[in-house]
Subunit: 704 residues, 2 copies
């Protein structure tokens, strides 16, 4: 069958995910060659469209007529899959583009990942061909893709040889090699696949292009990114919103979370992994839950695929049949920051009325070994119906007789059916076939590993409780910032305009001027020298603290002039500030992270910053509630909390500072690279910034 | 067969672990009753000794002749297993003791765990019967035990119905209910069992009695405690040393690690879980590795049982076939604080010589997908032979063809055989049967879960790298401390005798005296009022800082006298100290934790203590190297490190303080309950304690 005059030719990524015809350029007839595998896998998995091997030295490959060149193929080709040596790829892509093929996959290595000039320039050309022709190109350095809706396996990972059940899980991965590993996990959990795409080097089609397709068009309900880094945080954040709006769960497994892991990732690819803490904070704020393991992808997908019940907004309800199980579940939930619900008064009353034995009525609810059977259902459904419970975790020891175990399984199934709240089961010792059937018929997932169960469940809880930050209306600033590093005086002046409390520096021109200014200000004062290009003033001898008298001021003015003269032939400025004294020091700052954009950061200041190494990070924009929530849970938040009794409102005042820095970032979006308010003294009158540094870039110079 | 005139009757725990005859008191003839199960399980599992059901209303149970009373049994009974209602247990125990039975198990509930006066008093009587008769009693509230060497299953958990392969894993558990859960895990990992004992309420036989038996006499090689709390830290520490000396691995799974988890544990039993951080620090110092999950018990046991290779002192060597796998392994290892080895120059040279492809030569070593096959063995064995590598982790994607996967499996097996270094495999997607056979024949364990693999392996790495702290010779102090809370002056004086740098308080009797003392000392000075029973002086208005002049001193002396008079009719003392100024504040202290004994603790002082909530804990005795090691890895250690450039040696000076507090604790072992040196100012002259509190108890009053 040859397709002629197709009604509409698919364009762009439609041609990638659902092509009606595929050409495999470089398809080898020798079974032992890797380039033989993609065509074999394509044929084996029942692809319904037209298939065209392109191979100048074979009449046919695997029984399919072959063509000497892509230009010889007598029918429209939607997707060209290219497996020829890297040095021939560019010419072939030109031919494909000329033939009007909407999409190509470059499934060989030898490009930017080799870190060679040749490789980088070849990859650059791929991007140019895509841009000029409009043909979308996946790769290079991808091992292909797999789509069950299209019955299309196109690649040479051993997983491409398998036939997957159609499921609702899409995986978009920076590591194509992990496909087999995930595939085995899916098989073990009896869960299907929608799509797996190995992203490769992203010369043209990026991870987010593929995610966007899956969010907007595909039929998947769980979209998992296995990623090294993000290229466009703003876009990912929008996709996360879209996914939630469509009832889809978008999650990320970040490769290279530790310093050592990041090193392993760097060695693997040409991308930098970025700061792991910044990524995690950013993804969490953006509403993209992080998975902690490869295994939890299949765990999450199995819950999502099999369960008819939903996770509501709320914490975990935990029911077990021994205190040992309660502790195991709750300990791990705590490590994962998964909240365990507090039961409401109505639930406690219901439990007290329904349960005959004197179990401590709390969550986790330990039913004990000797519970009358009818009470299992009563207890489970009462906990599941608690308005603070979003999902149920039942820990089965399997210590009872088979008959009792069966009745417990039935109670769990009935509780999920009646309450509509998702139930999952942890049974480290496994369950009998009969129990498994009852639970599996009800769509209840059974895990033998407590940690895996909870980390698989966590994204669903996070999505259910995520609150969208509506971007506030901050008028874009029309004034252009001077480019480069702004000194303390100019930074503080600018910040003061945004309502950020700061000392007011006074520029002084002479010792007499300084004397007069200090007298008017009141002692003690601080005097600082500002020299272009000197960011660390204290180390350069440019900061004089605790000047108590006019003579101190005059002497130090003179000696500062001398230091400035030594540091810079063009001189500098001298400023005087009232010396503030605080209970302790904090800092607030922002930095632009590659790929993800602006990140706000706050923490304890001065010498404690590095020693304690526990800062709070937020992505921009972030809601005030979330600023508060994360701040309160940090050392800085606890320090502020300790001051509240003598200084009521100091925490909210500090949140103001963070929020106003955010306002400023949003207004100057493209032109601020970094802000440092360090230190901010926490005084009895509230926080006050006593030094600042603002780094501005050309507007539009660095994309956010 | 009846046993008469046994050559020697087993005593104590021999009779529990290897009885030659067992009486089941309360064995029911009705199959549906729980009290039917122990006898059935005992018979079913092929116990070779004599079995005597005791049941006044049956002629026989399960075909075995029954006796109306234990006194009617015509042969010596080694072990009496009692399953009758709690209110009849005491009489029965008396009868057993009178009959000279060496060991009994009370396998019913209704004792201290009910938190009732009746229950507690019954349990107390059990302890008294054991003490007075010499009969050892396991329980009450235990569900029994299982011993494969004795072919003895004695209990009513459903796991007691199973027949286990004989293995080398002993589990001593505070939660009997977890037996089935563990049993399922063992089955899944095809690993055998030596012994499982449910400890119950420990009226007589304690968890450590059972651990001691397993360490000294049993044939197990892995001894896992599933525990809520320890009762005797000193003894456990000795058992950990004994276990290491015998090549056994003693590990602990602590139930109730989180606050919420501890609450779940408290509800379960009459024991308190104690501070989780103190426990973890203590166990680590004591050489008892902590497991993070139930599943890792079976994981650890499977490695220990199956592998002929050993873990050496060193970090992990990691070899993978894709960068994605490297990152997954290293990220998790980092979370678990499992070191990844740095390869030595010789190894790097060997790799460079043997590998043909330009892989980055580092650990983790990413071999890539296209590696020539012969090189797998070369790479694996080179990394395994690195002197810094203690164990090998190989991550398999399974993305290659079956033939290639088989050759990799053979290379792994050969590398373990040739190097003698333990290899484990992580294959999230599973391995083929052929690969499994090759690896399993070589005793190489395959995990599908990365986290589980690493947490199972971790105890072996920890034991291999553990350094014993030899208890130093500190002469026991002959002087007896005054009982109760010592005030600042007396505490500081005592501490100064142990070489701990501290301010020297001078007692002053009058304003004139104060004036003279302050003049001699030099200003500024601090004046404090000491009143018996007032521990928090500042809050009580008893601390006057920054007194700059004689008149300050006189005025404050008078007002302090007034405050003291108000606080206490019997008056108090007034002291003067030179006011020290420091860069920052720290604290060192000790406390006696229930069950585990003295714990040393240090951290940032003042307001930062609670806000940062990152203190360092050490158990006593601890080697100076370990004090240093843990201190350096803490916020306080980093703060001290920042001062080193201007104040060289300040870190070692601080370690001195901790070490001298330890000396003092060791000398006064039984009579110090708590020490608080808070704050310790870190000054340019080194650390100096400016306040102290010592709480002494009657010698021998509270066991350590």
């Amino acid at each position: 069958m040859s397709i002629t005059n197709p009604p509409t030719r698919p364009s762009g990524l439609d041609a990638l995910f659902a092509p009606r015809s595929v050409a495999v350029i470089g398809a080898s007839a020798s079974p032992e060659k890797p380039s033989h595998m993609p065509l074999r896998n394509l044929l084996r998995n029942g692809f319904a469209g037209e298939v065209f091997p392109v191979n100048p030295s074979a009449e046919s490959v695997l029984g399919v007529p072959a063509y000497a060149s892509i230009t010889d193929v007598p029918a429209p080709v939607d997707l060209a899959y290219i497996v020829i040596p890297a040095e021939f790829v560019l010419d072939e892509l030109e031919r494909c583009a000329a033939a009007g093929i909407p999409c190509a996959v470059v499934a060989v290595s030898g490009f930017a990942e080799t870190d060679s000039a040749d490789g980088r320039s070849r990859q650059q050309r791929i991007a140019e061909i895509a841009a000029s022709s409009g043909m979308r190109i996946l790769g290079p350095n991808t091992n292909g893709l797999y789509s069950t809706p299209a019955s299309m396996s196109l690649g040479y990972n051993s997983a491409h040889e398998r036939t997957f059940t159609r499921g609702r899980l899409a995986i978009i991965s920076h590591s194509g090699a992990l496909f087999s590993a995930v595939a085995g996990q899916l098989e073990q959990r009896e869960v299907g696949l929608d799509t797996f795409v190995s992203v490769g080097n992203e010369a043209d089609v990026t991870m987010l292009d593929l995610v966007e397709y899956c969010v907007h068009q595909g039929e998947s309900s769980v979209i998992a990114m296995i990623m090294e880094s993000v290229r466009d945080g703003h876009r990912l954040r929008g996709l996360a919103d879209d996914a939630r709006a469509r009832g889809k769960t978008l999650v990320a497994l970040k490769l290279g979370r530790s310093v050592a892991g990041a090193r392993a990732t760097v060695a693997h690819s040409s991308r930098l992994a970025g700061s792991s803490a910044a990524y995690e904070a950013w993804l969490e704020d953006a509403g993209v839950p992080l998975l902690d393991s490869l295994e939890s992808i299949a765990g999450l997908a199995s819950i999502a695929e099999h369960s008819p019940a939903a996770v509501r907004r709320g914490g975990l309800g935990v029911v077990t049949y021994s205190g040992g199980g309660s502790a195991l579940v709750v300990d791990r939930a705590s490590e994962l920051s998964l909240p365990v619900a507090e039961l409401g008064a109505e639930t406690l009353a219901a439990l007290a009325a329904r349960l005959t034995r004197p179990a401590p009525l709390m969550n986790p609810l330990d039913m004990g070994a000797g519970i009358p059977l009818a009470e299992s259902y009563e207890a489970l459904s009462a906990v599941a119906n608690d308005p603070g419970v979003g999902a149920m975790v039942v820990f089965l020891h399997g210590m009872q007789t088979p008959a009792v175990n069966l009745m417990i399984a039935r109670a769990i199934a009935k509780s999920q059916r009646d309450t509509g709240v998702l139930h999952v089961v942890i049974a480290p010792g496994g369950v009998s076939c009969e129990e498994h059937d009852i639970l599996s018929d009800a769509g209840i997932e059974v895990f033998t590993n407590t940690a895996l169960c909870l980390s698989s469940l966590k994204p669903l809880v996070q999505v259910a409780t995520y609150e969208v930050t509506t971007e506030r209306a901050v008028q874009a600033e029309t004034e252009t910032l001077p480019e480069g590093v702004l000194d303390e005086r100019r930074s503080l002046e600018l910040l003061a305009r945004w309502g950020i409390p700061a000392v007011v520096p006074r520029l002084v021109r002479s010792a007499i001027d300084a004397h007069a200014v200090a007298d008017a200000m009141g002692y003690p004062v601080v005097m600082k020298g500002l020299v272009d290009g000197v960011a660390h003033k204290a180390e350069a001898g440019l900061v004089r603290l605790g000047l108590e008298s006019p003579s101190d001021v005059v002497t130090n003015f003179t000696s500062l002039e001398a230091v400035i003269a030594q540091l810079s032939p063009s001189g500098g400025d001298i400023i005087i500030e009232r010396q503030a004294t605080g209970e302790f020091e904090a800092f607030v700052g922002s930095s632009r992270q590659p790929g993800i954009g602006h990140v706000l950061v706050a923490g304890l200041g001065g010498v404690y910053t590095e020693a304690i190494a526990q800062v709070v990070l937020w992505s921009v924009p972030v809601a005030r509630d979330r600023i508060r929530h994360k701040l309160l849970d940090s050392p800085l938040g606890r320090m502020l909390g300790r001051l509240e009794s003598e200084n009521p409102g100091v925490t909210e005042q500090f949140i103001d500072v963070v929020d106003r820095v955010q306002d400023m970032l949003l207004a100057h979006r493209d032109s601020v690279d970094a802000i440092d308010l360090n230190p901010i003294l926490i005084t009895t009158e509230g926080p006050i910034a006593v030094d600042a540094l603002l780094v501005a870039s050309r507007p539009g110079g660095t994309p956010p």
